[in-house]
């Protein structure tokens, strides 16, 4: 999807949404899963995407905005191809999460919350990822990476950059 086009779900998606809505007493109940779908399809939830979701579910824009702004996992800004979310909560912090974040930022030349100019990597901090036994934990897109250290991250970044160039 190019950014200038009006966002549109595919036919299959629309059917999926229809089936989902039918399972609840009202369309508002389907808002959370539909927002996840929209984020998956469109990358992030721009105001246009939010308007479109409101239209699809027959809600008002504010009803959608309330939910989008409440949950931190919904993004209103575009992010890199690899979203790296470092847990900096107690267990991970004790196991070097802060140093890890610093290392990642230095290596990529960005600050926390920023995306590299080539649109490849975004680094953010998150609260407890619920995987303390593997601290420090980094969630990259939908995959947990446990016991992460600087070397592991370097290798990941190199591999990902190479794959992208190929």
């Amino acid at each position: 999807m190019t950014m200038n086009e009006a966002p549109r779900f595919s036919e299959e998606r629309l059917q999926e949404i229809q089936a989902l809505v039918a399972r609840y007493p009202g369309p508002q109940s389907a808002l959370l899963p539909v927002l996840h779908m929209a984020q998956e399809d469109f990358g992030y939830l721009s105001l246009d995407v939010q308007k479109y979701v409101a239209e699809v579910l027959g809600l008002t824009l504010i009803q959608v905005r309330e939910v989008v702004t409440f949950y931190t996992m919904f993004r209103e800004q575009p992010c890199g191809k690899y979203l790296m979310e470092v847990c900096t909560n107690a267990s991970c912090m004790l196991n070097g999460a802060d140093e890890l974040v610093r290392h990642m930022c230095d290596k990529l030349g960005i600050k926390v919350g920023e995306t590299t100019p080539d649109g490849m990597f975004t680094v953010t901090e998150v609260e407890c990822a619920g995987a303390c036994s593997g601290a420090p934990v980094v969630q990259i897109n939908n995959v947990y990476h446990e016991n992460v250290d600087a070397a592991y991250i370097d290798a990941f970044i190199e591999k990902a950059s190479k794959e992208d160039a190929a």
Binding site: T60, I62, Q63, T69
Partner: protein
């Protein structure tokens, strides 16, 4: 019933009541912010905590229902501590700027801070500041003071139906956000400052003008629509600062028209002293001089009297008494929206209360812009539709409602006969009929499918039929209403206790007007025609503005060009430029009086605001007029006047004397012998004309109010609207077009909208296209064309 003990006091309430509501009803003080009796329960402020014996932690009383034998404590040391902690949290980011806050002195946060707050905060970190929003001409925001109780959000969603406010973000970043363009859409927006328990949402027109403790309170009745809400008027000296709803009255909210009309009370358009025409202008006069001129104009003349229905019952009665004493042959008119003067099978007024309409199985609205005309009845229908109950609408325009309608049909006014006949056919097939129905049906040729919706709804056990202005102002209104009456009788909706026939009146006091003036009543159009034909020598207008309002503006102008006008009133309208004499009468907020609303509820106004000038209660002006004209004044005191009123309408005495005044309803008039059959008339022109009623522009008071005019500008539409198909069929394009009617040819800006029924010309801007209100049918032609 459930019995429980609150602070050892035995209390009995309905099962399912919340503890908080039980406390409120029995005068037990429990602090709370987010709860509001008219809104859904959010339970997010936690201020309302109470202890329940046997429970191991405090309970939020607003969302905990009572149970049998429950023992509740509202004042313990532990609770005091809890409340202190909650207050500390709520005040963390609060600016603590009570001295410059309009809410100060009337603020829950301030009150509870005094009771539960420490004198010094422990929070010394930076406080947040929040951006303010533009919520339209009536609401000011200071969002840093917001405590996120979400009352405003629930009000917008549940009551106003605009859904224009929401909560963004969470925790420390939480803010209330309005989507600005939509915020103005509500005709109830003035209630937001009342709803907000703190000083975050404030009344804009009175902002920074007065402190709550400087204001004196008066009670009165709003006469801006037939709903007749109880109002509390807050004034400083003689200046009205605010109008608010009255707690505990049948309607907990009031609309923006009734609330913000108050700046007209001191507008330059008020008539505050007697005036006499001098050349092109007016000069002030003494009462003696003004009456002398009046007598000159009226003595031994053929006089027509036109008055507005908005006066108090006492005022209206005095008009009748004056007429009988001085002009016993005079024709009297008061309705500017009625063309057909044959008696209606059911007269103007409601047979049902608004509560009954809210809970009826079916509601059918015929040809009425309820949201503009009766915003609070609309609010009840909105509540109904939120509960999934049906509302059917048939009419010439898809008026905005902010709710979902279960059935909706667009028709032209000339189709009404066919709609009703179609409904009759259907109910007859189901074996329901009434004497006279066959004859009625036989005199109508066509059948219109929209009648099916009507007939379907009539099958319900209880059905509220709300008949609006498109039928009431119809040239054949009496036969349409008779037809509807037959339908209602056939389906059992006309019996005592199940009567669903409601005819939306033009204004207050409809039941009294048909009872007291029924025998002398003429149509306003008839009066103007007589004046034009030289059969009247003078017109007396008591508070009416037929040039600015109603369906006869061009007839009124033509008549006033010919005969002199004596104007008695509280406020000038567009007719004032024709007046020879102006006699000031007190405004509705300046008198003690009795009113009747559309349901027949008696409303009393007993603590008036001080008069601004020399105006006198209408009855005194009328009696003095009688005296000056050489008659014995029929009554000399308010008591005598009331006796005369009670003699004419004994029910009013009963209602006024009963304790439960709200529960007494004055019945609507019925005319069992009003058998009007459809008239076969060929319309002169191919398109029907329907005029818009705008709550911000209709009526002399609203037009004199700058606040309402401002809102009216925001809600403005093109001059005239038609359905796109109507234009397409004629091969015309939107823009300036000629409207041809019996009044001649006039050019207007024509816009298109799907909301208008095809075949209808909808006059959206009465001020501009006002004169078209006189016509019922017209033709559209291109500019410059010769067709």
């Amino acid at each position: 019933m459930t019995t429980l003990f609150i602070d050892d006091k035995e209390i009995t309430v309905e099962p399912g009541t919340s503890i908080l509501e039980a406390c409120r009803r029995h005068g037990i003080e429990v602090p709370y912010f987010c709860y509001h009796p008219e809104l859904s329960v959010a339970a997010n402020c936690r201020m309302c905590l109470v202890e329940v014996e046997g429970w191991n932690k405090p309970a939020a009383s607003c969302c905990t229902p009572v149970s049998e034998g429950m023992k509740v404590r509202t004042r313990t040391e532990a609770l005091k501590k809890d409340r202190e902690m909650i207050m500390e949290y709520l005040l963390i980011h609060h600016p603590l700027d009570c001295p410059v806050c309009d809410q100060g002195g009337d603020c829950k946060l301030q009150d509870y801070a005094v009771e539960y707050g420490p004198s010094k905060g422990r929070y010394s970190e930076p406080k947040r500041a929040v951006i303010n929003y533009d919520l339209g001409p009536f609401v000011n925001t200071c969002m840093t003071r917001c405590i996120h109780c979400t009352r405003c959000v629930r009000f917008a969603n549940e009551i106003a139906g605009t859904g224009d406010i929401g909560v963004l973000n969470r925790g420390d970043h939480m803010t209330i956000a309005g989507i600005v363009e939509e915020a103005l859409e509500s005709e109830l927006s003035g209630n937001l400052p009342d709803i907000c328990p703190v000083g975050a949402l404030l009344d804009k027109p009175s902002h920074d003008l007065a402190r709550p403790w400087e204001l004196s309170h008066h009670s009165s009745t709003c006469i801006q629509c037939p709903n007749g809400c109880d109002i509390q008027i807050e004034s400083r000296g003689e200046q009205v600062m605010r109008i608010r709803p009255v707690e505990g009255s049948p309607e907990p909210f009031i609309c923006d028209r009734g609330r913000y009309v108050y700046d007209s009370f001191r507008s330059p358009a008020r008539i505050l002293e007697p005036q006499i025409r001098q050349g092109d202008g007016f000069g002030s006069a003494t009462w003696e001089e003004a009456f002398a001129r009046t007598v000159e104009l009226l003595k031994d003349k053929r006089v027509g009297i036109l008055f507005s229905p908005y006066w108090s019952l006492e005022g209206l009665m005095s008009i009748r008494l004056m007429r009988d004493a001085v002009f016993p042959d005079a024709k009297v008119a008061f309705d500017l929206h009625r063309r057909d003067m044959r008696p209606f099978a059911f007269e103007e007024g409601f047979s049902m209360t608004t509560e009954q309409i809210e809970s009826a199985d079916q509601v059918v609205v015929l040809g009425c812009d309820l949201r503009q005309r009766l915003p609070l009845l609309m609010l009840r229908l909105r509540k109904r539709s939120r509960q999934g109950r049906p509302v059917t609408r048939i009419g010439a325009m898809n008026y905005r409602t902010n709710m979902s309608l279960s059935n909706d049909a667009l028709i032209r006014p000339r189709d009404w006969h066919a709609v009703i006949a179609r409904a009759m056919e259907q109910v007859q097939q189901l074996g329901k009929t009434a004497a006279g129905m066959d004859e009625w049906m036989a005199s109508v040729d066509g059948r219109h499918e929209a009648g099916k919706l009507l007939a379907d709804a009539l099958m319900a056990d209880t059905c509220a039929l709300i008949v609006g202005e498109e039928i009431r102002s119809h040239e054949d209104a009496a036969s349409l209403i008779y037809g509807l009456d037959l339908l209602m009788r056939a389906c059992g909706h006309a019996e005592e206790g199940r009567d669903g026939r409601n005819l939306v009146p033009e204004a207050m006091n409809a039941q009294m007007l048909s009872a007291v003036f029924g025998d002398v009543r003429a149509s306003a159009g008839e009066l103007f025609a007589l004046a034009q034909a030289g059969e009247l020598d003078a017109l007396v207008l008591v508070g009416s503005d037929p040039v600015g309002d109603g369906l006869f503006p061009s007839a009124a102008k033509a008549a006033l060009e010919r005969v002199p006008l004596v104007q008695v009133g509280a406020i000038e309208g567009e007719i004032s430029r024709y007046a020879e004499v102006k006699l000031p009468a007190a405004a509705y907020v300046e008198i003690e009086g009795t009113f009747l609303n559309m349901e027949g509820r008696v409303r009393t106004a007993n603590k008036p605001v001080k008069s601004l000038g020399e105006e006198r209660p209408l009855w005194k002006v009328m009696m003095r007029l009688a005296m000056e004209m050489g008659s014995e004044p029929p009554v000399v005191s308010l008591e005598e006047l009331r006796e005369a009123l009670y003699a004419a309408m004994p029910e009013v005495r009963d209602a006024c004397n009963s304790v439960e005044c709200d529960a007494c309803l004055i019945r609507v008039g019925r005319n069992r012998d009003a058998r009007a059959l459809p008239r076969k008339t060929a319309e002169a022109f191919p398109l029907d004309v329907v005029s818009r009623y705008s709550m911000y522009r209709e009526g002399m008071w609203a037009r004199a109010s700058e606040l309402l005019s401002e809102a009216g500008r925001i809600h403005a539409l093109d001059d005239v609207l038609v359905h796109p198909d109507t234009l397409a069929e004629l091969g015309l394009k939107p823009g300036p077009l000629v409207v041809e009617s019996f009044l001649g040819r006039h050019t207007f800006d024509i816009g298109v909208r799907d909301d208008v029924s095809p075949g209808v010309i909808y006059i959206a801007k009465r001020g501009v296209a006002g004169d078209l209100s006189d016509v019922t049918s017209a033709r559209l032609v291109g500019c410059g064309g010769d067709s």
